[in-house]
Symmetry: C2
Subunit: 352 residues, 2 copies
Amino acid sequence: MTATLGSGPACPMPIEATDRVQLGHGSGGKMSAALLRDRFLPHLRNPVLEQLGDAAVLPVNGGDIAVSTDTFVVSPVEFPGGNIGSLAVHGTLNDLAMAGARPVCLTVGFVLEEGLDLALLDRVLASMAAAAGAAGVPVVTGDTKVVERGKADRLYINTTGIGVLEPDFRPAPDRARTGDAILVSGPIGSHGIAIMAAREGIAFDAAIESDAATLLPLVDRLREAVGPAVHVLRDPTRGGLASALNEIADASAVGVVLEDNALRVHEPVASVCDLLGLDVMYVANEGVLVAFVEASAADRSLAALRSHPLGADAVLAGHAVAEHPGMVVLRTGLGGTRIVDMLPGDQLPRIC
Amino acid sequence: MTATLGSGPACPMPIEATDRVQLGHGSGGKMSAALLRDRFLPHLRNPVLEQLGDAAVLPVNGGDIAVSTDTFVVSPVEFPGGNIGSLAVHGTLNDLAMAGARPVCLTVGFVLEEGLDLALLDRVLASMAAAAGAAGVPVVTGDTKVVERGKADRLYINTTGIGVLEPDFRPAPDRARTGDAILVSGPIGSHGIAIMAAREGIAFDAAIESDAATLLPLVDRLREAVGPAVHVLRDPTRGGLASALNEIADASAVGVVLEDNALRVHEPVASVCDLLGLDVMYVANEGVLVAFVEASAADRSLAALRSHPLGADAVLAGHAVAEHPGMVVLRTGLGGTRIVDMLPGDQLPRIC
């Protein structure tokens, strides 16, 4: 992998140095975390919200359910490998999958800009229906609002998903343990770079497609193969693999050591990152999962992931360690190490 | 009541005469219904979605749950009687209440415009927390996206709610029966007119406040008083009382006869409607419910509503009849009648 260039471009403003919302507040990085900690939690605090996972877990009708919500504002709304409709389905189903839940339904909420081409809306709905249908999850209710021209950017979509949980499969961000093997299910960075290329109208020699896909089949295979040996599952979307690993390291109070030369990046994605000075570790993925599994289950877990086409390039990328709890360290091919911190703000805004 | 002036201003474009989204598609009127029927349902069709109630009902963990989603784009975001935060909580909890569900949790999804004043966000979150706290319903998970200046209008909020249902209390839009008494829990039109006045900066002699409030206590009292004698519950939001009654008449294949002189409208609201040529029957409410109950339970239902401050001005407003199924007729004080159809588009856009 050649596309790790320091910590990437930083947000020009210090965190909270302003009393206005900045793009970095939506980055999934430090500014997002600060907004959540300093603005949202003081008002809305409760034990379930404070789990701060991709999905909330709570009891309903005598069993546990997982609930996840996500609003999609990706620009452009159509890109190689999908559109905002398929992304909105995959994104929320993946959040449920990462909690170990089997999804039972989705809701959708649209904000449409006046003047939106109805043919585009049809394409978005068709992709949404195809993605939900492939996963076998119905859209059970929805809502549509229309705002004046210039008050949205074509369309925004919220999806909220509900899933059911079994007692013996409860991956969670705070359940990583020292010694856990860290698996990454595929090449990283494809979604973010595909969006950026589509937005900027950049043409590359090789096509770069978003990896957006449902991760449910990968989770099913892991569950069948090793069950409760899966401690943490996460899809590294906004903020990329670096931010996801930092959050897990922090929540579980473990250190993370990653092997740089184990990580896979599609060559065209790596080239673009090199060219533009982007660090692929911070670039969003929408069809990749990272799993922390018991060391004794690492080989079986890797084989389970590789048994599905989406996980064909899965790798053992590193380990959880007792040293430097809360910190992520990358061991480079030359034997050096560097700390992989969270970014304050955005490398690439509006990628989901 | 003096504010019923024909059918109000009509949308200038025929329905679907364009291949572009128009403001009227978000109105809750005929254009919204056409968008749902012609664009959304063909792609996303399934038995639960086709219930088309304010909330979807589906089985989870051996019992039934209700799920409702709503995105709020109200302008301005602060208005007399509330703000977009309290409205987003009340709106979704009310949709669950109208399905007869006891809410168990809410999710929130924010779209923030770059440059939004964080002090305003704090006020919105405080109102949201107060509304959720008063109803005893936790916000269990959330999501925040930020878009560039000029790509939203300060902030939009999606709320999705989950509630649980008992087998013996299942009000639904298709359960109205000939002979049912139609109760309206309070004066109509206050929310829409308060929003319009705040938006246009119109000052009136008397203050007009939004009626936005949780309807859960009113439903609890109805349930305790008459239980399954409650056939339909609906909060007439977008499109007002007229649209809600038309939808119920259509879904249940009954006629509706309303007594014009039974309906209550706050005097300042009626004056504004007169002044501006708005028909209060189509103006949004956020703290009013309409109930179809068995005739034999009408008196007890009315007493139950009136036992709570929010229902102090509840009235018996009309009846469901076998004649003219699917049609709503208003009997005026002078002995005449007029048909109350649905509007094609908006009287007042972006009121929720």
